[in-house]
């Protein structure tokens, strides 16, 4: 073979041999992390991370999936991640991680944005991880629960959150990139989902518990599930759920199943005061009538619609008022709406937006239509 050919082959060989497949990371060299909980150690203000990993010491085919928990400590998040190697044989792999649980303590005392930084910066972590606040004392307690329907706690929590919007509409799954957007957008505060422990048949399980309210990127309070529902109404994130009404002389005896909801918000600026109008348009099914059976007639349905309308309007208004007075944090994004629609006005109001928010006049209008009554008349 001529010289050129020989040279070429030598170069190729060197290329492969010398670089040695450095990025090659076999599947047996990694520990799959599915969930991360972030706490702070009281003694020395270090971060304590708890990882839930997939336990591969037993073959998955025969014994099924199992999870295991690893703890590690470090001065920063990345430091803690690497310190975990002191206890395990392989490096952690974050490409399949699904949730991040942050303890209340960190959320109250520190800017939540600094926690997110490592997760967004690292190439392995996916931007679709759910960001959750734990209402227990620490975040790592959440990994001690019994998972009811999936062997891995993280997957269980993730699935609960994802479907919640459509089923109960009391909480929202906030992904990392949305959280980042929320932290950096004008006139909007972050609201994150909350989980806590609950007792189910003698076992401790995880349960979602409304939303957490942030102000200036720090946690200031919680919205319990019955109020966070109206929060979701106000920001147009309702995809399902139930509205209960009291009608026909009884308490809480009607269930309306939300099929579809559309919320629109608009604002009006007069004499230095901002007025926001929130309009909701909901289509529901009559799901349950808890009274001795009698077929519904047109009049009753209209009556129900009216009651539902006023109930919903009242509840949303009250919820917004409560957030205004108690937290003063614009989690509804009204400021953001002004910024997007009328930037000049926003520039005027931006400095004291909190004041404006607290004294904001909010008017709620609700439309409800009962589309059908399921299969009973």
């Amino acid at each position: 073979m001529n010289k050129k050919g020989k040279c070429f082959i030598i170069v190729l060989l060197m290329l492969f041999l010398l670089c040695g497949c450095q990025g090659y990371r076999g599947l047996d060299e990694m520990v799959i992390v599915t969930g991360i909980a972030i706490d702070k150690t009281p003694e020395n203000d270090n971060y304590r991370l708890t990882f839930e990993i997939v336990d591969l010491t037993v073959p998955v085919k025969e014994m099924g999936l199992k999870g295991q928990v690893i703890e590690s400590e470090g001065k920063t998040l990345f430091d803690a991640v690497r310190n975990a190697k002191k206890r395990i044989t392989k490096k952690l792999y974050f490409g399949q991680a699904q949730i991040i649980i942050v303890s209340q303590e960190i959320a109250r005392n520190e800017d939540v944005g600094i926690i997110i930084d490592w997760f967004l910066r690292d190439v392995e972590c996916r931007e679709t991880m759910c960001f959750i606040i734990s209402q227990e004392e620490t975040a790592r307690e959440m990994f001690e629960i019994e998972a009811l329907t999936h062997p891995l706690v993280s997957t269980e929590i993730n699935n609960i959150l994802e479907l919640d919007q459509e089923v109960t509409s009391t909480t929202l799954c906030v992904e990392l990139y949305k959280a980042f957007g929320g932290l950096h957008s004008e006139g909007e505060e972050l609201a994150l989902p909350v989980i806590h422990k609950a007792i189910n048949n003698g076992k401790t399980v995880g349960e979602t518990n409304g939303m957490a309210v942030f102000k200036d990127n720090k946690l200031v309070g919680f919205l319990p599930p019955n109020e966070s529902k109206y929060y979701l109404f106000a920001i147009d994130e309702v995809k399902g759920g139930i509205l209960t009404l009291s009608a026909f002389g009884e308490e809480h005896n009607i269930s309306l199943e939300i099929f579809e909801n559309k919320t629109g918000a608009s604002f009006d600026y007069k004499d230095g005061k901002v007025k926001v109008t929130v309009k909701t348009d909901t289509t529901v099914y009559l799901g349950e009538v808890m009274r001795p059976y009698a077929p519904m007639d047109e009049k009753e349905i209209n009556e129900l619609e009216d009651i539902a309308k006023s109930e919903l309007k009242k509840n949303i208004s009250n919820s917004i008022k409560k957030v205004q007075s108690e937290f003063g944090a614009d989690i509804y994004g009204f400021g953001n709406m002004i910024y997007k629609k009328d930037i000049k006005l926003w520039k005027q109001l931006a400095e004291n937006w909190e004041e404006h928010f607290r004294t904001l006049e909010v008017e709620v209008e609700s439309e409800i239509e009962i589309a059908n009554t399921a299969s009973l008349k």
Partner: protein, 376 residues
């Protein structure tokens, strides 16, 4: 040296892929945030006159590449100087592209492989394509361009579920100055970089109109860019788009359709690599042609390999880290002005004058016979 010709379709596909090249990795983003798409459209408008000037130069001297035209128009000495300048520009651009690409690969995909290796295998493929000639490059582009377009459209459609149209508001939230600044950056990188195509102009047949080529291709590329920017903005929002180095990659990462079509960011990497290969090849061939003309060699294919290695070496020297890579864009828009604007306009004016002179000198003298002079 045998004449290589490409059809109009092949040239246009190469052109579009060249424009698509590294600018889609870098995200075509700027401080303009949610108004990046306005910057883009503005950039296209700014680019059209310059591009038409390039086309006009090609039209005045059909089937001649820039180095031949320059010698005809300015004379031997001036021609050689301009040739050297353009060779440097093409080579520098080649090194920039290689370096940008390997940065992308290193940061997102192969985090532990040394950057030199990544650059080397890229340059091997590029050299192979350059040695195969411009026709092969044209045919390759024709096959690959639909693939790239399909991927962009596909990801756009799949992402529709998650988009938030309010991410584009407030429209014109940024000052006109910021938007115009962003537009100029896009103009300099990539629209006006197409000046290197003038170095390959010898391959376009006389009967094909360079105007059509440049304008149609620019329009198509702008449409694709627009789709890409819109997709990024709508999916991610301006905050994330501005913070991440590679927003296209991130945007595709979050796409999740029915839990099944998920984790498809490999397709974006595919797009980048394929477009990058073409852009590097065009620059390398342009530089090679220049050097063959300068030193009187017989075939540019012989010098492609050494030039490729030189480009890689240059690439390793260019920046220290990736931040510098992105910051360089600020300087680049100024540094490129002589190559992108001054020299072509200069040549254009002189060319117009010369052609008119020739026409007036003897009534039958036309640019066609100018070609027979050059073919010698």
């Amino acid at each position: 040296m045998p004449k290589e010709t490409v059809s109009l379709r092949q040239a246009a596909c190469t052109f579009v892929m060249f424009l698509f090249g590294s600018s889609v990795i870098m995200g075509v983003n700027s401080e303009a945030g949610q108004d990046s798409w306005i910057s883009l459209l503005l950039a296209m408008l700014m680019a059209l006159p310059i591009i038409l000037i390039y086309a006009r130069i090609m039209r005045l001297y059909p089937e001649m590449d820039l180095f031949e035209i320059v010698e005809k128009v300015i004379g031997k000495i001036g021609g050689k100087i301009v040739t050297i300048l353009m060779i440097w520009y093409a080579l520098h651009l080649c090194a920039l592209v290689i370096r940008d690409f390997s940065e992308f690969i290193k940061v997102t995909v192969l985090t532990e492989t040394p950057q030199l290796n990544i650059m080397l295998i890229l340059i091997l493929v590029v050299v192979y394509m350059s040695k195969s000639g411009i026709e092969t490059m044209g045919k390759w582009s024709v096959i690959i361009l639909p693939v790239i377009t399909l991927v962009v459209i596909f990801t756009m459609i799949l992402g529709l579920e998650r988009i938030d149209p309010t991410n584009l508001l407030p429209i014109m939230g940024h000052s006109l100055g910021t938007i115009a600044g962003g537009a100029y950056k896009i103009f300099a990188f990539p629209f006006a970089e197409t000046v290197v195509f003038l170095c390959l102009a010898g391959s376009l047949r006389k009967k094909d109109s360079p105007y059509k080529l440049f304008t149609v291709a620019t329009l198509i590329a702008t449409v694709i860019f627009l789709l890409v920017i819109m997709r990024n903005l709508l999916l991610l929002g301006p905050a994330v788009t501005n913070a991440k180095y590679y927003p296209s990659y991130t945007a595709v990462r979050i796409i999740n359709v029915g839990d099944f079509l998920v984790r498809i960011e490999g397709s974006t990497a595919l797009n980048f690599i394929l477009a990058g290969v073409i852009k590097t090849t065009v620059c390398l061939v342009a530089a090679s042609k220049g050097i063959t003309r300068l030193f009187g060699l017989c075939n540019y294919k012989h010098i492609v390999f050494p030039l490729g290695l030189l480009a890689v070496a240059l690439g390793t020297l260019l920046y220290e880290n990736i931040k510098e890579a992105f910051d360089f864009l600020e300087i680049y828009q100024i540094y490129a002005i002589p190559f992108q604007i001054i020299i072509p306009v200069f040549i254009w004016i002189l060319a117009e004058i010369k052609v008119r002179q020739d026409k007036a000198a003897n009534g039958s003298h036309s640019p066609d016979s100018a070609q027979t002079d050059a073919a010698g």
